[in-house]
Amino acid sequence: MKDRVSAIIKKYGKDKSQLVSILQDMQAEYNFLPRVELDQLSKKMDIPQSQIYSLATFFKAFSLKPRGKHIINVCLGTACHVRGADLILESLERQLKINRGETTEDCNFTLETVNCMGCCATGPVVKIDAEYYGQMSNDKVELMLKKY
C-alpha cells in the first residue's frame, strides 16, 4: 500500500506553510480528508492535530466526511441568484432527497454550493464534476441528473 501521505508531503518539501495545499492534494486523492491520514500528516510534519483540524473546518473546500462519486456544485453567486439559483438548489434537494452539504444514501451524489464560479453570463449554473450546465431551470434538473 503506497504511502500517499508521505508522497504529498515530499512534493511540498515538508513545508509547514504549504499546509493548505497539502490538504487540498489529500482531498483530491481521497475525495475527502480521512481522519487516519490526517493523523499521519500530523505526526510526519510535527504539526498539532488541533491545527490541522482548525484548517480543515475553516475552509469550505475541505470535507471531513466521505463524499459521493459525483460532486454537484450549485452556484449561488449574485448573478445566478438574480436568475433564480435558489429554486434550482431547492429542486435538486427535492429530487436527491438531501440537503446542501450532504451525500445521497447510495453515495452517488454530494450536493454542494459555491459562491460564484465565474460563469455569470450563463447563470444559473450547476457544475457536476468537471461538466458545466448553464441556463438551468427546474425542468432541466431531472434530465441532467439522469446522466449520472
Binding site: V20, A61, N115, C119, A121, T122, Q135
Partner: protein
C-alpha cells in the same frame, strides 16, 4: 526544444520571427473556450473545429486558435474569423462544417450566426462594429482574442515581455516606480490605493527579503473579471508581477488563486512553466542578473481570504483570519516581511504602462482615475460578459450602450456594484460616472468589478438578505461586530421577507450598520452594511411594503406571494401539472383551466416559468 533566452536581443529576435509568422495570409479563426463559455458547450465546438480542419487537410491554410475569454459571454460559443473580423455567435457543433465550407473556403458570411441588433434586428458582421465591443476600450482584454493562453510564443509574438526587458535593461527601480506613480494607476481590487505609492513604501521598508503577491481570490459573487484575464492571458499578469518585483526588490512572488477557478490555475501554472523554460522567470532573467521565483497557491474556499492579511495568513499555512493593519503590510506583511499585494488587473496594467508610458495611460479615464476598468456585466441585461471601459464612463453607457439594455423588455430597477461590499443604485443615479470616488459618494463602490443589473422582478429586500446571508457564511468569526452583528442583521431581514418585520426594524438595521462600520476588524465587516444601507436609502418603499403591508411588490419573497391560475388564459394543456414537483395542480381536461391547490404549493415557480400562455400569475 526551446533554449533559454539569455538576453534582450534574443527576445527581440524571437518576437520578430514570431510576428512574421502572423502575416502569412492564412485565414485565422479564434474561438473562445473560456470558463464562461464552457456551459454553452464551447469545448465540443473547439474540438469539432480542430477535427474538421484536420479532416479537410486545411492546417496550412488555417491558423486555428483556442483562446480565453473574448468578453461577449452572453453569446457563447463565439468565434472570430479574419480577414473580415467576422463575428459568429451561439455556434453549435453542427455549424462547424458549414463555417469551414462557407466562411473559410468560400469567404461567405453565414447570416444565422451573426449578431442581430436588439431593436432593429439588423445583422452586424464585424466584431469591431458590435455595440458591445465598439463602446469599450479593450487595452487589456483585447489581447485575449489574439493568443492561446497555453502558448507563450503567442504572447511574445504580440510583444509580450518587451516591457519586462525594457524595465530590466533600461530602467532603474526608482525610475520604474516613478513611472507607475505618474501614470496614476490605482489598485483594481477595490481599495483603489495608488499603486506607485504602495510600491515605493515597500521598496523603502526595512528588510532584505520582500515579497510580491497576486491577489487572484476574486471572491465577490458575480465578479469574474480576474478569471477572464487569468485564464485568457496569464502572461500579462506574470509579466507585470516580475516588473513589480524588480521595482520593489523582491525575489519571491506568490499567486493566490481561488480554488473555484480550476482553468485559471491550470493556465497560470502552464504559463509559469513556459516562462521559466524561456528564461523569463527564475534565475538570471534574460541574462540581467535579476532572480525571481513564483509559487502558486490555491485558496480553500473562503471569501475572507481576498482580504490582504487573511490571504497572507493562508499563505503561511494558517486559517484566513485578518489582523489589524495599524502597521501596513508593505512594512510587515507575509511572515512579517515587506510585502506588496496587488490585484490581478493591477498587475496586468503594468506592462502597458511601461511600454506606452505614463502620459499615454493617464490620458485614458479621468484625472485621479486613470486607465480602464474591467467589469463583469451580468444579470438582467441583454449583453452580459466582461467589458473594459475607461474610468469615468457613465453607468447608463455601460448598461444600455454596451449591455444593450434590459432583457425581455422589462424595466431597469437597480445596478449592484462592488459585490457584498458595495451597494444597489437606482435609476436616478444611472448618470453617475463609474470610478473609485464617484460611486463611493453615493453609497456604493466600484470594488473589483462586479456589476449586476436588476429589473422589476428582483426584490431589493431579498437582495439585501442575500448579501448578508453570504457574508454571514463567509465571516471568519474572529471579531464580535461582524460575527454577531451580521447574524442579527440577517435575522431581521429574514423576518422582513417572511412578513414578520416590525416598524423599528429599519432603525435597528441602521444602528447595527453604524457599529459594524466603526468597530469591525476588517473590510468584510465594515462594508457589510452597504447593501442594506443603499437598499434602504433608495428603495425604502419596498421595505415598508414588506413590513407594513406584508407584501412583496416584486413577487419574490415566498411567504408574501401566492401563485394562481388565470382561468381565461389557461388552455388546459397540462404542462404545469406534469412538472409540478408537489402535485399541487390538477388536470381538469383539455380546454378546461387547471386547478392549483394552495395548500400544496411550494412556490417553486416551475409552473410560472413553463407556462407559455402566461396563465400563471404571482400576487
Amino acid at each position: 526544444m526551446r533554449t533559454k533566452l539569455k538576453s534582450r536581443k534574443e527576445l527581440e529576435e524571437l518576437q520578430k520571427k514570431l510576428s512574421r509568422k502572423l502575416d502569412t495570409g492564412k485565414t485565422r479563426i479564434s474561438i473562445c473556450n473560456g470558463t464562461a463559455c464552457r456551459p454553452y458547450g464551447s469545448n465540443p465546438v473547439a474540438e469539432s473545429f480542430k477535427s474538421e480542419i484536420a479532416k479537410q487537410g486545411l492546417e496550412d491554410k488555417v491558423d486555428f486558435k483556442v483562446t480565453g475569454c473574448h468578453g461577449f459571454c452572453e453569446k457563447g460559443p463565439i468565434a472570430i474569423i479574419e480577414p473580415g473580423n467576422i463575428f459568429y455567435q451561439k455556434i453549435k457543433v453542427d455549424d462547424v462544417p458549414e463555417i469551414i465550407q462557407k466562411s473559410v473556403l468560400n469567404k461567405e458570411v453565414i447570416s444565422k450566426l451573426l449578431f442581430k441588433e436588439q431593436s432593429t434586428g439588423k445583422e452586424i458582421t464585424a466584431q469591431n462594429e458590435l455595440p458591445f465591443y465598439k463602446n469599450q476600450t479593450r487595452i487589456i482584454l483585447g489581447n485575449n482574442l489574439l493568443i492561446d493562453p497555453t502558448e507563450i510564443e503567442d504572447y511574445i509574438a504580440i510583444g509580450g515581455y518587451a516591457a519586462l526587458a525594457k524595465a530590466l535593461f533600461e530602467l532603474q527601480p526608482d525610475q520604474l516606480i516613478g513611472i507607475v506613480k505618474q501614470s496614476g494607476l490605482r489598485g483594481r481590487g477595490g481599495a483603489g490605493f495608488s499603486t506607485g505609492t504602495k510600491w515605493e513604501s515597500c521598496r523603502k521598508a526595512q528588510g532584505d527579503i520582500k515579497y510580491v503577491i497576486v491577489n487572484a481570490d476574486e471572491g465577490d459573487p458575480g465578479a469574474y473579471a480576474n478569471e477572464g484575464l487569468l485564464t485568457g492571458n496569464p502572461h500579462s499578469v506574470l509579466e507585470g508581477l516580475i516588473i513589480g518585483a524588480y521595482a520593489i526588490g523582491a525575489h519571491q512572488g506568490f499567486i493566490y488563486v481561488r480554488n473555484e477557478y480550476p482553468l485559471a490555475l491550470k493556465n497560470m501554472t502552464i504559463a509559469m512553466e513556459q516562462a521559466e523554460k524561456h528564461g523569463l522567470l527564475g534565475d538570471n532573467i534574460l541574462g540581467s542578473g535579476f532572480d525571481f521565483h513564483v509559487r502558486i497557491n490555491r485558496g480553500g474556499g473562503a471569501f475572507v481570504c481576498g482580504e490582504s492579511t487573511a490571504l497572507m495568513a493562508s499563505l503561511e499555512g494558517k486559517v484566513g483570519e485578518p489582523r489589524a493593519k495599524y502597521i501596513h503590510t508593505v512594512e510587515r506583511g507575509l511572515w512579517d516581511r515587506p510585502s506588496t499585494l496587488n490585484n490581478v488587473e493591477t498587475w496586468a496594467n503594468i506592462p502597458l504602462i511601461v511600454n506606452n508610458g505614463p502620459e499615454w495611460f493617464s490620458k485614458i479615464g479621468s484625472p485621479g482615475n486613470t486607465g480602464t476598468k474591467i467589469f463583469s456585466l451580468t444579470g438582467k441585461v441583454n449583453n452580459t460578459g466582461l467589458v473594459e471601459v475607461p474610468m469615468g464612463i457613465k453607468l447608463r453607457d455601460i448598461i444600455f450602450g454596451i449591455g444593450g439594455g434590459i432583457r425581455g423588455n422589462k424595466k431597469f430597477k437597480a445596478v449592484q456594484t462592488g459585490g457584498p461590499s458595495g451597494g444597489c443604485l437606482p435609476e436616478k443615479l444611472l448618470d453617475s460616472p463609474v470610478d473609485f470616488d464617484e460611486l463611493t459618494k453615493v453609497g456604493s463602490m466600484m470594488g473589483s468589478g462586479g456589476m449586476i443589473v436588476m429589473d422589476e422582478d428582483n426584490c431589493m429586500v431579498d437582495i439585501a438578505r442575500y448579501f448578508l446571508t453570504f457574508l454571514e457564511e463567509e465571516s471568519c468569526g474572529k471579531c464580535v461586530p461582524c460575527r454577531e452583528g451580521i447574524k442579527r442583521m440577517r435575522q431581521v431581514l429574514n423576518d422582513i421577507t417572511e412578513g414578520k418585520g416590525r416598524e423599528s426594524d429599519i432603525e435597528l438595521l441602521g444602528e447595527i450598520s453604524v457599529h459594524l462600520k466603526e468597530s469591525s476588524l476588517c473590510q468584510l465587516g465594515s462594508s457589510a452594511p452597504n447593501p442594506v444601507l443603499t437598499t434602504i436609502q433608495y428603495f425604502r418603499s419596498e421595505y415598508e411594503s414588506h413590513i407594513k403591508n406584508k407584501k412583496c411588490p416584486a413577487g419574490v419573497c415566498k411567504a408574501l406571494i401566492r401563485f394562481s391560475i388565470t382561468d381565461e388564459k389557461c388552455p388546459g394543456c397540462g404542462m404545469c401539472v406534469k412538472t409540478c414537483p408537489s402535485n399541487a395542480i390538477t388536470f381538469m381536461g383539455k380546454k378546461k383551466p387547471v386547478i392549483l391547490d394552495q395548500s400544496r404549493c411550494i412556490k417553486c415557480r416551475t409552473c410560472y416559468d413553463i407556462c407559455r400562455m402566461g396563465a400563471v400569475s404571482i400576487e
